[in-house]
Symmetry: C2
DNA sequence: TCAAGTATGCACCTTTTGGTAAGTATCCGT
DNA sequence: ACGGATACTTACCAAAAGGTGCATACTTGA
């Protein structure tokens, strides 16, 4: 139902919607690593270098509440939890691939532009 | 101290790089409209409902400095400027299409999850 | 018993981002 | 001469995002 008024600011296009799901400083990295298979919390933390506990948990929860990742608590003696992509998450990661490719192909240019902008502030 | 990384903190994957270019509250919408052809500033402002001058200009400048859009000043008697996608920008928009599709297909779910998260704060 | 590892939660603070509202300079129609 | 349109620019704020570090509760190993 297209509700094109100023009251209900629905997404203007699919991309807009998608960005709400994948934007977040660490989400692409998390998805990148989860795409390799289920990963334990600690392992993920060591993979996604530089992320803090707070951020990692927070982003994982958001991805979980969006149905992208699945948290599995094994209820074991020493805590044991892992995270994996849901089928929905897998479909997202697949849709992300062209953007990955584009980014890879132009990584240099993007980095240069970023530095330029950061410098001129 | 969380800066134990002496390496060049480049992007972890292409997607990560790409997100630096397209994330911004109004960028997807801007790209969406520019994809339809060169657009004058005022026209764009009327299309991207709710955006302020400050934001529109700012995002356009960033997209321009990233080589995604091109600003054309016709140097005419009453001011006349328009914005269009560069070939680079066009290639980006093309790479974005699968994500658009994914977002469209799951718009409902995404909106629901967003609302849920917004509510539980 | 004490440290270290597991997976989180929470409080506090800084940085980044976005919004509001004003001003600039030029031109056009009335 | 004045209001409105053009395309911006600027200053000031509020909100969101992110970072730091301490606390929890449980377990295993030294």
């Amino acid at each position: 139902m297209a509700k094109e008024n100023s009251e209900n600011p629905r997404f203007i296009c699919g991309l807009h919607a998608t960005l709400h799901v994948i934007s977040g400083k660490w989400k692409p990295l998390i998805l990148f690593f989860l795409n390799k298979g289920p990963t334990r919390y600690g392992e993920l933390k060591r993979s996604v270098r530089g992320v803090s506990d707070k951020m990692l948990i927070q982003q994982l929860k958001e991805l979980e509440s969006d149905g992208i990742v699945q948290r599995t608590d094994y209820g074991e003696i020493p805590l044991r939890v892992d995270y994996s992509l849901t089928p929905f998450g897998t479909s997202l990661v697949r849709a992300m691939e062209p953007l990955c490719g584009w980014g890879e192909a132009h990584e240099e240019d993007i980095a240069v532009a970023m530095d330029r902008r950061k410098a001129s502030r």
